[in-house]
Every structure is written in C-alpha cells, then in structure tokens.
Symmetry: C2
Subunit: 458 residues, 2 copies
C-alpha cells in the first residue's frame, strides 16, 4: 500500500474511534448536559479573564517591565557618560512609589501588588547572592601580594575618615531620624560604614572604560578599592552581629560561630576546591557536576551566614573569594553567571530598592538640607580622605584627585549595604531615601569629576 493510504485509513480510524467514544462519553458524564461546555463555564471561565492576575503572569510582567525600563534608562545615562549601574538605579526609583506609584497608582498596584513583593524580594536576594559571589571571584587577591603600601594606606584612610565623620554626623541625626528601638551605637556605626563604602565593581568598570587598566593610577585605585571592600564588609558583618546579637553574651556566641565558619571555609573548603580544580585541569570546559558542586558550596555558605545572623551576602562573598584562582575556569564561571542571572535577576534588586525609596518622604526644605549634608559629609570623607592619603604618599596632585574621585563611587554596593540596614530596622524609610540619594549623587559625580580633573591638569 502507498503511504498516503495509511495516513487516510488511520485518520478515518481515529475519527471513528473519537466519535464513538465521545458519544458514549456523553452518557457517562457526571451530569447529563447537552452542552457540557456551558455547564462548566461558570467554574472554568474565570481563569481566562483572570489569567493575567496569576502569580506567574504578574511575575513575568514585572520582569518585562523592569528589564525594559532598565534598558531605556541605561541608554540615556550612557548618552551623558554615566555607567550602566546609574541607569539601573534610576529605573528602580522610577518604577517605585517615587514616580510610577505617584503618577499611575492603579497601574503600579496592578504590576506590583503587595502579595507579589515576597517573590520579588526572594528572587532579588538570589540575584544578589550570585552577584556578591561574582564580586568575590573578581577580587583577585594576588594584587594584594604585590608591593602595595600606597594602596593599603589610601584604603585605610579612605575608610577611617568617612567612618569617623559618619559617626559624628550620626550624633546630630540620631534623635530625629531613627526608629525608637534602635540604640545609638547601632545607628552611628551603621552610618559610619554607609559613608565608607566604595563600589568595587563600578570602579573596576570605570577604570576599564577610561583605559586606566594597568596604569599606576588604575592599579592603586583598584587595589585600594579591593582592600577597602574586604575591610568594609568585615566591619559591616561585625556591626550586624552586634546589632542582631542584642546582648553581650549572644554577641560573643555569634563571634565564635563566625570564627568557626570562616575557618572551615578557609582551611577545609578552599583546599578542597583547589584540589577539585586541579583534577579537572585538562579540559577548559566547566563540567556540570563541578558547577553543581560550586552552587552547593555557595548556597551552603550563604545559608550558614544567614543562620549565624550576619547576612547571607557575606557567605556568598566569601564563597566567591575562596574559589581557586584558575583564570580560565573562573572567567568562564563569572561569564555564565553574569550574563544570564545578572541580566535577569539583578534588575529585580534595583526595583525592590526603588520600591523602598520614597522621595516624597523628603517633603520639607529641612529634610532636603539633611540629605545634602549627608551627601557632602560622604564626599568630604571619602574623596577628601583619599586625596589627603595619596598626597601624604607623594602622589602627584592630578593622581591624588583622580584616586579620590574614583574611591568616592558608591554605586550598587552602597545600595546593598543600605538594604541590609533597612532590613535590620536601623534605617527609617526617610533615612533610607536620603542615603539612596547620597549613593546616586556620589556615583553620578565620578565621571564628571574625572573629566574636570583631566581638563585642569592637561
């Protein structure tokens, strides 16, 4: 027989079977209906009209809206010579209550209903965990082994001066702008560290974009930022431990737990990973099983930190830091995580930050005054501290100013720190908003400042 006769016969056969079964089926239905479709329309019609309201649909809508807004903002900030992260922060604020919530309240309530914020929060945290992991991996500790006394010195001063200024500033802000149950030391230590942050990844990108990689200036700035990053996160972990512990007894307990955790990571997991990396040295390809193992280490580390009481992000950062320094494999891993996960999940973090940033809370000239004072203190501490330290180490005037401008970039890392403070209850929504504006302003001024310095010292 020819092929087409088989097709025809089988089709006729199926049609006969179907019609027979359906005819028979009508008799076995639970209720005898001539039009069964109409009978169920009351129960199953609802899902159609409400399909766009189910959690998955809303989540997809959020992702689409967030990614598109971020891309549009990135396009515009690039036009005025700003790094991409500025666009993402601005996109987050635009989608939050500051703009969209105020102008289009119904649309905002539709896209970001309260019930969906939990999902958004978790996913943005997962994105951040992967991001901190990448930052940890990017922090090449080998540069620290080179002769870098200048960088260490600058790093030290660029933390201690804004930290000191922040603590002093906190004395004047405390009574007015702090939730009632937060003790003074918690608020002042946190303000200190919030002013001392340098955004290592943003700085690294600016240095690459301006062609400073490998120059003396670039090396000093990037090393100082790396040391500063590690120091700042250690201090922050310490502060979080103090604040969360609540009593001296449980603080000591927390410190012991941190000690055990860090020791295990450095002296058990790190050698194990190095061995694993050597075992798979022949193939440049990252095996799936190695990837899975790395993910297990990453999430276990993050989980331990969360349970100890310091933030999951520390665990992710440390897990990144102890990855074996095999350039190719690490580069590949960073590449994979960066492109997919960061493109998809990190924007969620900016938006969940934006949803907390309520610019309309700064509704009086006095509050804007405070906001400006915070920003000025941050700039004077970080920029000033770095410049003075560089001058002491006999760097040229131009290089000192450039280093100062670079160290003053706060970018995304500052937002991460501020969110931790907000979650701990140390920062009120008002204070959080002011600090976000400070982070925006100091990140924004980096490129114009560098251009100005270049023009002056041509």
């Amino acid at each position: 027989m020819k092929t087409w006769t088989w097709y025809i016969f089988s089709f006729i056969g199926l049609a006969i079977i179907l019609s027979l079964v359906f005819t028979a089926g009508n008799r076995v239905e639970h209720a005898v209906n001539l039009l069964p479709a109409v009978a169920i329309s009351s129960t199953s019609h609802a899902p159609v009209t409400e399909a766009y309201r189910n959690p998955l649909a809303i989540f997809m809508l959020q992702i689409i809206l967030i990614i598109i807004t971020a891309q549009v903002c990135i396009f515009f900030v690039r036009k005025i010579g700003q790094p991409a992260v500025m666009g993402e922060i601005i996109a987050g604020i635009l989608l939050g209550p500051s703009l969209m919530g105020a102008v289009l309240p119904q649309f905002s309530a539709f896209v970001f209903p309260a019930a969906s914020l939990g999902n958004l929060q978790i996913l943005s945290q997962v994105g951040l965990i992967l991001f901190m992991f990448v930052i940890g991996m990017e922090l090449d500790l080998d540069i620290l082994k080179e002769k870098a006394s200048t960088a260490v010195f600058i790093s030290y001063f660029s933390i201690i001066i804004p930290f000191g200024l922040g603590v002093v500033l906190s004395y004047f802000l405390y009574q007015r702008y702090t939730p009632a149950n937060i003790p003074f030391y918690a608020f002042s230590l946190f303000t200190g560290i919030a002013l001392s942050i340098t955004a290592f990844p943003v700085l690294a990108r600016i240095i690459r974009e301006r062609g400073l990689s490998g120059t003396r200036l670039g090396n000093i700035a990037i090393t100082a930022a790396a040391i500063g990053d590690i120091a700042a996160w250690c201090i922050l972990a310490f502060i979080v431990a103090i604040v969360k512990a609540g009593s001296f007894h449980s603080f000591i307990y927390t410190i012991v737990e941190i000690g055990v955790y860090v020791s295990v990571m450095l002296f058990v997991i790190k050698p194990m990973l190095a061995k694993l990396a050597f075992a798979s040295t022949d193939n440049a390809v990252l095996k799936r099983s190695v990837m899975v193992f790395i993910f297990i280490i990453l999430f276990l580390s993050a989980y331990c930190c969360e349970v100890i009481g310091i933030h999951a992000l520390f665990g992710a950062f440390l897990a990144g830091g102890i990855m074996p320094r095999k350039k190719d494999a690490i580069k590949k891993l960073i590449d994979k995580i960066e492109d997919v996960v960061l493109a998809l999940f990190l924007p969620l973090f900016f938006v969940s930050t934006g949803l907390r940033t309520q610019v309309f809370l700064l509704n009086s000239p006095a509050l804007w005054g405070v906001c400006i004072i915070i920003t000025l203190t941050a700039v004077i501490g970080k920029f000033g501290g770095s410049v003075v330290a560089a001058r002491i180490k006999n760097e040229s005037g131009k290089d000192s100013l450039s280093i100062g401008a670079l160290m003053n970039t706060r970018g995304l890392v500052e937002l991460v720190v501020l969110n931790i403070g907000y979650d701990l209850g140390i920062l009120s929504p008002q204070m959080f908003t002011m600090m976000v504006i400070m982070a925006l302003a100091t990140t924004f001024m980096t490129n114009p400042l560098l251009n100005l310095i270049n023009r002056k010292y041509r």
Copy 2:
C-alpha cells in the same frame, strides 16, 4: 613623617572621636539605659533564633537539599545505566509526601512549609520557561527539510495510535477518577495527549550517549521525535484552549488570539531577530544587550500565551523555535542558560512535581491495577505504533524495535504536560500520581529495552 605614625595617629584620633560621640550618644538615646543592648534584646533577639525560618533561609535550604538529593540520585541511576533525568524525577518524589513527608513529617514541614510553596512554584516555572526555551532552540528545523518521509510517517503513527488508545482508555477511567466539574471530552483528549508524548531532550541525550548520532537510526528517531514534539505541543495548546475557554464563543476568540500571536512571532519577531543576529555577526561573543533583548522576547512571548489562556510554556517554546539558526551564537546561549539556570532552577520543578505525587493515594490493588493498565496502554500505543509504522516503511526488525523503544521515552516533557493537566484540574491527585509512575516506568525501560534489542539481533 613615617607611614606607621600616620596609622597610629589616625587610629587614636578615631578612638577618641568614637568614645566622645558614644558618651554623648548615651545622653541622646530615646530612653536612658545603662545597658541599651539589653533594652532592645526583646525586640531584636527574636530574629537571631528565628533566622533559619525567614523565607530566604528556607529557600536556600530547599535549594541545597534539592540539589544534593538530585546529585545523589543521579549518581545511583547512572550506575544502573539510566539517564540523569531519572535521578532528578526520583529525587523529586523522594523529597515529596511519598517518602520524606511520610517518614520525616516534621522535617518535611520545616523544609517545605506551606507558605514557601508559592515561591518554589514561581521559581520552578521560571526554570521551566528557560528549559522550554532551550528545547525550542535545540529543535533544529533544518533536519525537517531533508527527505524525511519515514520520520514523518513514524511520528504521525506514534502520536495517532497512543492518542486513540488513550481516548478509549479514558472512557473507562472517567467516571471513577475525574473531578466532578471536568467534562468528558477534556479528560479524554488530555489522556490521549498524555500517552502520546515523546521526551525530545531525553531521547536526544540517549542517542548521543549510545553513539547513534548521525546514523540512519539516530536521524530517523530524532526527526520523528522533533516532529512529534511540535505536533504534541500544538495539540496540547489546542486542548488547553478548549478546556479553558469553556464556551464555544470564547474558544473561537482564543483561537483568533493564538493566530494573531503566532503570526506576530513568525512574521514580525523572527525576521527582526534574524536581522539582529546578522548585525552582530562579526563577534562570536553574545553582547549583553542582545541577551537582554532575547530575554525580553522570551518573557513577552510567555506572558502573551499565559494571558491568551494557553500555557506560558508554549510561548517559551515558540520563542526558542524562532531564534535565528546561527549555530555558534545559539550554542553559546544554550550553554549559558543550561548550566546556570537549569542546574539551579530546573531541580525545583522536579521537587514541585514530587510534592504533588502522592504514592500513598494508590492504596488498593485495584488502583495499582489501573496504574499498570495505563502504563501498558502507553507502551503499547507508543512503542507498538512506532514499530508498526517503521515496519510498514520497510525498516529492519532491529531498527524498528529500536525506534519504538526510543520513541517510548517520556521523561521530563511528560511531567511538564502532567503538571499542566493538574493545574487545569483535569487530573485528580490520584490520576496525576498514576501518570507520573507511567512516565517514570516508560523512561526507565528505554535503555534496558535497547540493550535487549541489541543482544537479540547481534
């Protein structure tokens, strides 16, 4: 001055400032306490002991547990010559109520509290969307253009025969095992399609593992599976549209919407993507902006399908299918998505399937009998149908049997279909469990069957 004097001076300075500010700070605190730490312990101590219960901690714990269990199961199933997907399915069932929930109910309630299941669900859906996107991209339509009448013929029969048998079987199952408000045609069409699924990705991997790639047998099987996949998903989309529409009027409306959506994808988006791919033809590297654009397309497509009323997964599948066929770029994209996202998020899907699979619901010999009948019908329909079709097209006995064994693999794709049926309410928990066991059994038998056939025809 020497460097170290600067360090010392600055440190002493900071210490003095800190002590002064803290002393002053004690006076400005909201309440006068000698031990402020104790005062707040009542409010802030709770988070420490309960840290492991916050949503992020629980989510991390779930990921860790799921990934480790999956790896252990994969290790064991590999030992007995089974594909990795078997291990992942079994891991999901082990972590669900069938084993862990029954043996360690308290631990199960701790790791998978009801409140966390929403997050798990969303994330596993995101994982599935990315997975279906990859399947769509892997489906190389170029093979269909080659002379493949045998493959088309086999594919046709390997769908029509199990589909017909499934419809007949449903007649006997309907009254006992279907929720009251589901009409007969919905249940019978769904049963038909559930028995007709071939797992394209699992089949592709088995063919690769057994060294059949490029052979006549391998090509026929993979082409037939590809055509079968497309046909099955189209039929399923059609069935979902019927079931969800509820009335004839809204069914027509849905069909029109689907038509518009598919046309836009094929005639607007696809050429646009091809152009985009040509524009970036010089560099083999996928630009971040292109990645972001692709993600926007993917989620927009999935969102449209969800809103139309067919499942988001169809949108993801079609978005993958219309990606430009530039081997390098596509391979890179698949690579990136597969390793990170699938390693992290796809296991969540297996577990959320496992959480729905309740083996203890099959608590009578009669139910196990039904389960066996379903499995037998599935095997007779798919395996038998393929073998008969291959024999009609004059394939050798050995090749016909091998093609039958390969087409009978249902794997992960079957689970996706079953979950859609469960979400629509067509499958009761009992029926769902039986179908999952059928999927497991048919996937499990592929490799032993192929070995048996090889031994017989040596």
